[in-house]
């Protein structure tokens, strides 16, 4: 499975050779970059919902008696549900996502999971991060492996915008994954003299030095661009005061500034609602919906709407029956949300089959790796079969020939 270090060095060196055009002056390099084809600019934003999001109270089967019977205190009343069709509706706190749905920008994939679900947070999260369901020691995540398939580049392919530790999903064999929580790290624009020194042409620069010069130039330019974007903030878009909103806002800025990464990763925690679910879950959904809604309004205002696909997932859903503490315990299959112009808007994956529970859990109908395969192959232009060790079936939730897709 693993490429050896030597092979890999050879590979990197070769790729780097291609990426570096010796003696390419700065302005030419800039022009070359500006001419990057549109299809190379698609961006994936992953929002991890940590703790196990209660899928049934997110996308509510409001016609199902079993739902109301098993959840006497927690069920969302049918009249409160934001109806998507005559069987399913969103939780009432998710108004902003309902609007995206109505605009044809939201795809809801129900019953996503994997065979023999694991109910440990850690193990199940590892499975979602690695896209490997067998208990093997897998060192790299699915997005990290995707990054490893890309030619070596001086711009990061993956970026984490969070204060959490780097998720396994982003661990990569070859690339360093930058992680920021605040944009300020990059907003310190280098002094003019520094920029001038970086830009100044060098005689007889080695390939490596030219590489370093290009990376430095990129860094200066991006810092400048971020500052520009930050100062010319579109005032029309109001983000709510949530932490997730703040992070998505940073991501919107970075995308608009052409910072470079193709994948941004952030998270929202607190979904482990074993008790008093009413107190936290609706609020979390409001944070999720409000933040994502504002994010998409912002993307539209910045003119980059067609480049972005947002995906949410959680390590598992929760049990159908509520527990004695007005909460729910660890479950199995749950919905994923995909948003963006590249998505086949609407409902996918059917209705949760509460009549055919497996050990008290919603059975899975869509393998999460088929959604990954869609995202990798259909959006990021990465050979999904290579990354997902042979899994090639696609869920088919993306539009064909979506404007930014590969």
């Amino acid at each position: 499975m693993a490429t050896t270090r030597r092979e890999f060095l050879r590979h990197t060196a070769g790729a780097a050779l291609l990426a570096t055009s010796p003696a390419l002056p700065g302005f030419l390099a800039r022009t070359a970059r500006a001419a990057t084809p549109e299809r190379e600019r698609s961006v994936l934003v992953v929002v991890q919902l940590s703790g196990g999001n209660d899928g049934l109270n997110t996308v509510v089967p409001y016609r199902d008696d079993a739902y109301y019977r098993l959840r006497p205190t927690l069920a969302v009343p049918p009249d409160d549900v934001l109806r998507l069709d005559d069987g399913l509706g969103l939780h009432p706190e998710m108004v902003a996502l309902k609007e995206l749905y109505d605009d044809g920008l939201l795809g809801v994939i129900n019953n996503v999971g994997y065979p023999r679900p694991d109910r440990s947070h850690f193990r199940s999260m590892d499975i979602w991060h690695t896209a490997v369901t067998e208990p093997e020691d897998v060192a790299c995540g699915w997005l990290g492996r995707a990054a490893d398939r890309k030619p070596a580049s001086d711009v990061p392919y993956l970026m984490q915008v969070d204060d959490a530790a780097l998720p396994l999903a982003l661990k990569s064999e070859r690339t360093l994954v930058p992680s920021i929580d605040r944009l300020e790290t990059f907003a310190d624009r280098p002094e003019e003299a520094v920029e001038a020194a970086v830009r100044a042409p060098r005689a007889d620069a080695s390939d490596d030095l030219q590489f370093v010069q290009r990376v430095s130039l990129n860094a200066c330019r991006q810092a400048a661009r971020i500052r520009e974007v930050a100062s010319a903030e579109s005032p029309g878009v109001d983000y709510p005061g949530f932490r997730l909103a703040a992070r998505l806002r940073q991501i919107a800025r970075l995308i608009a500034a052409d910072f470079g990464p193709r994948v941004y990763y952030t998270s929202l925690g607190g979904f482990d609602t074993h008790s008093q679910q009413v107190l936290t879950h609706p609020r979390l959904l409001r944070e999720l919906a409000g933040s994502v809604g504002a994010f998409f309004a912002d993307l539209r205002a910045r003119g980059v709407l067609d480049r972005v696909l947002l995906m949410t997932f959680s390590e598992f859903g929760r049990r159908v029956a509520e527990n004695g503490s007005r909460g729910t315990d660890h479950g199995a299959a749950a919905p994923m949300l995909l948003a963006g112009v590249g998505v086949q808007a609407g409902l996918h994956g059917g209705v949760p089959e509460l009549a055919a529970l497996e050990a008290g859990d919603v059975p899975y109908r869509v393998d999460f790796r088929s959604v990954y395969a869609d995202v990798l192959g259909g959006w990021l232009g990465v050979p999904a079969g290579e990354v997902l060790s042979g899994v090639t079936a696609r869920a088919g939730v993306l539009r064909r020939g979506g404007s930014a897709s590969h």
């Binding site: 050896t4 270090r5 030597r6 092979e7 890999f8 060095l9 990197t12 060196a13 780097a16 020691d137 060192a139 790299c140 070596a152 580049s153 001086d154 711009v155 990061p156 970026m159 661990k171 990569s172 064999e173 070859r174 690339t175 360093l176 930058p178 920021i180 790290t185 990059f186 310190d188 280098p190 002094e191 003299a193 520094v194 001038a196 020194a197 970086v198 100044a200 042409p201 060098r202 005689a203 080695s206 490596d208 030095l209 590489f211 370093v212 010069q213 990376v215 430095s216 990129n218 860094a219 991006q222 810092a223 910072f259 470079g260």
Partner: protein, 433 residues
């Protein structure tokens, strides 16, 4: 042509400021002006000898050394990370520090799985003890190192159910390299290491878990145990070549010529893997001073950050130093995988580059005492400060375009020193060692 013949300064290759700085960077970190002056005075041979033999440690290093155990007991891995870096800042044996770091990369073990600062420290001590010793001793020590045993599942390696993790990496990464052993060798070697467990932070041989039966490893048959397997691996020329390639890539630059690899590999085998001899040969060899190796390596984050601090002769809070180095992509005690860090170009992307630039700015504008440095080196004019900065940061070999930029700076010498260093330490050339 023997490329590893000793370096003899000549008119074409003089022992000058650039040559001395080059050697000190490769054998340690970007040097202070004082270190360069001392090397110039002693000449290349004596400088290399002192680097390898090791000077007496500084009192500050000795003091710091003593508090490592306390940090480990607290299980304070972040504290140890800063502590290690601060020791690199204060050491008078920079080559030993660099080699310990080299072994940390070679036998890459991550605390993410080990989960014990005490074990990680114990492993680092092993690297330091054998930093310039015999490679065989080091491999034997690492094979019994508790952190390594936890890291590569040694405790699960028992008779009847061998766990191949350690045996595989021993061959693939630590000694032979892919293509120089078979899958059968791995399976059989794993059996030889059965029962090599750890308990309470110490190596613990479990007789009952050990498979004492006959095995065939790398063509030799017998009742082999772990030490026998290590011995067999060391006997392979592939092992010596792999180590030679690694050392050359570290000291000379990426993709060293195969001829050099062969020569150094042969020398390693002939000296029973005497690492000190190999390092002395490379650092004292004429090849290192061939122009093509000058600024041929991209500095690792540790080299970059510790180099800035050492060359500016400044004080630095351990935590912020560790934080910066981590943000640049080198989280000590947590290498990304058993393969270690990829190094060279993989260190740099626009984000990590930005962290380097910010770090250089913080050091130059905030951390260091420019006035004290001006006083120490008698920099009493703007021109003197400019020239000093150019030599300190870029050996005086400043690209013409930058020279013009430096000339713009004016003001008192310490201000000129700061603004010149800011430009020079943010330059692409400064990222190279």
């Amino acid at each position: 042509m023997d490329a590893l013949r000793p370096f003899e300064p000549s008119a074409a290759r003089p022992w000058d400021h650039a040559a001395a700085s080059h050697l000190l960077r490769r054998a340690g970190f970007a040097p202070s002006a004082l270190e360069v002056a001392r090397a110039l005075e002693r000449g290349p041979a004596r400088t290399v000898a002192e680097l390898v033999d090791g000077a007496e440690e500084s009192p500050r290093h000795v003091e710091l050394d003593e508090i490592g155990a306390t940090l480990a007991v607290r299980d304070d891995i972040a504290g140890l990370r800063g502590w290690w870096l601060l020791r690199m800042v204060h050491t008078r044996r920079p080559l030993h520090a660099r080699m310990a770091l080299f072994w940390h990369d070679w036998f890459a073990t991550s605390n993410e799985k080990v989960g014990s600062a005490a074990l990680m420290l114990q492993q680092l001590r092993t690297f330091e003890r054998h930093a310039l010793g015999r490679f065989g001793d080091l491999v034997r020590a690492v094979s019994q190192d508790p952190a390594m045993i936890v890291w590569l599942d040694g405790d699960e390696n028992v008779r009847g159910r061998p766990n191949e993790n350690y045996a595989r990496e021993l061959f693939e990464l630590f000694t032979l390299g892919v293509g120089n052993y078979s899958e059968t060798d791995v399976r059989e070697a794993a059996r030889a290491f059965t029962g090599w467990h750890q308990r309470q932070g110490r190596f613990h041989f479990v007789e009952g878990a050990h498979d004492a039966g006959e095995k065939t490893v790398l063509g030799t048959r017998g009742r082999l145990d772990g030490d026998d397997v290590i011995e067999l691996a060391l006997r392979q020329s592939a092992c010596a070549a792999r180590l030679a390639r690694g050392l050359l890539a570290e000291l000379l630059g990426p993709e060293p010529p195969e001829e050099l690899v062969r020569t150094l590999g042969g020398r390693l085998r002939a000296t029973d893997y005497d690492v000190a001899d190999a390092v002395r040969t490379v650092l004292g060899g004429a090849e290192l001073f061939d122009g093509r190796w000058y600024r041929a390596r991209i500095k690792s984050p540790v080299e970059f950050a510790v180099g800035v601090v050492r060359s500016l002769e400044m004080g630095v809070p351990a935590q912020s130093l560790a934080q910066a180095v981590s943000e640049m992509g080198q989280r000590l005690f947590e290498p990304p995988s058993v393969k270690g860090w990829d190094g060279h170009r993989a260190w740099l992307n626009s984000a990590t580059m930005m962290v380097r630039m910010n770090g250089a700015r913080r050091a130059v504008q905030g951390g260091f005492d420019a006035e004290a440095l001006c006083g120490r080196y008698g920099l009493d004019s703007a021109a003197a400060a400019r020239e000093f900065a150019a030599r300190l940061a870029l050996d005086g070999r400043v690209p013409d375009a930058l020279r013009g930029l430096l000339a713009d700076a004016s003001g008192p010498p310490h201000e000129v020193l700061r603004s010149a260093l800011l430009v020079l330490m943010s330059s692409p050339e400064y990222q190279m060692a």
